[in-house]
Symmetry: C2
Subunit: 247 residues, 2 copies
């Protein structure tokens, strides 16, 4: 029902407005930025790439974009050629590196989402530094953020999420998350409306069960309300910002 | 099942340990303190009064206690004489003031828990200041705190709970919550074991529906685990402390 409503209003227009608002609110993009987009071939990062391309005129700053895909020994983008063509049509060059995520596992250790994401993140950072990018753009949305907060709160007792802007202290580099204000349903609606959803690929490990479980609990807590989710993330993000100021 | 387990271990002993730990961790009680306990006649504040009396030898500091009951035009303690006797047996003098909570409502406004609690809080503060108390002890427990956090997060987008220690800037006064580490089930088990539960009275307005609803959602989120609840409150409290340091 809500997706249908979103389509009526123009899901892509809604997404562009929310991305532009996040970019302005958090000063995510500045003139002269060289931004490396982490493109997995999935719906989130493909929508992110499209948004950063479409929003060039509206943002009124000059910036460069490139998409980096990380192929692994358990998964590569199954619709690679389609992804490359799309990025090309948006003026975004495609680059690719291979990381043996499973091969790097120590003896007796099993593959898991945490391990994979740390390996990919390290590679993204190394690539960005060696190719003079000053920003890495990730496709995490509002639901990813709220789920991460709850997993960290309940498992570690730490209020730690995915801020829209994170500057590294030890590198001349920042992570940006321009989809921070979009719920997943809004990303899906946008990908559906623009024909990206059909050619998006998904990781064979899917979403890990802990994340699926916490997502259901959050849905119960918020009664399915996007407004409630936004207020929760606002409360958490404000406090995380306070902590960053103190440190 | 868990209450039975708690009784086996000695619910009162468990409660004393948790109260002593909260007092030490947050430096809630100092030598020479004059502490006014807000006693409603309910299980929470009666257990609080008992704990603060029983723990005198263990805390190894000299402090004075008094219990203040606030009678209202819609509710007074229905087991007042029992409450007075109990407090007396613990060496705690009983004092009483009347506040016309309903009578103070503006025309057209309905009674609600928020209005009542602000009227009582104002009266507690006024009484404490005029009778040279430097601390007010409240019977809020861990479940009260986590519920308040979630109500504020979801309704107002603010991370605002009930800290174990809150110093007022404008008064020479602090609020302390020595039951901060106890879950409600542990307070109930202690009140049951010590025979307080039978003579505890409850507010005729009961727990408001918003609090009942959020409590169910939190129980789902935490899977009934006390450890998870403690981690959540720890995460929230740490951030709230950061904010207080910044302000």
């Amino acid at each position: 029902m809500s997706e249908r409503l979103c389509r009526k209003r123009g899901a892509s227009v809604v997404a562009q407005k929310l991305v532009a608002r996040a970019v302005f609110d958090h000063n995510l993009i500045c003139s002269g930025d060289r931004i490396l987009i982490a493109v997995s071939g999935g719906k989130d990062s493909t929508v992110l790439a499209m948004m950063l391309s479409l929003l060039r005129p509206a943002l009124k700053v000059e910036y460069q974009l490139a998409g980096l895909h990380i192929s692994t020994d358990f998964c590569s983008c199954c619709k690679r050629q389609e992804l490359i063509k799309r990025l090309e049509s948006w003026g975004i060059p495609f680059e690719d590196v291979f990381v043996p995520v499973v091969g790097r596992l120590k003896a007796g250790r099993k593959m898991n989402c945490y391990w994979c994401s740390t390996q990919r993140r390290a590679e993204l950072i190394a690539y960005a530094l060696s190719h003079n990018f000053n920003k890495i753009a990730l496709g995490h949305h509002l639901d990813d953020n709220i789920e991460t907060y709850f997993m960290n709160i309940t498992a570690a007792g730490k209020l730690c999420g995915m801020p829209a802007l994170l500057r590294y202290n030890k590198y001349p580099l920042a992570l940006i998350r321009p989809l921070s204000y979009l719920e997943e349903r809004q990303v899906v609606a946008c990908a559906d409306e623009t024909g990206l959803l059909q050619s998006a690929c998904t990781c064979p490990y899917g979403r890990n069960s802990q994340r699926v479980s916490v997502r259901k609990k959050i849905a119960d807590l918020c009664g399915g309300s996007g407004a409630v989710k936004r207020r929760m993330v606002k409360a958490f993000d404000e406090e995380a910002l306070c902590r960053m100021k103190l440190n």
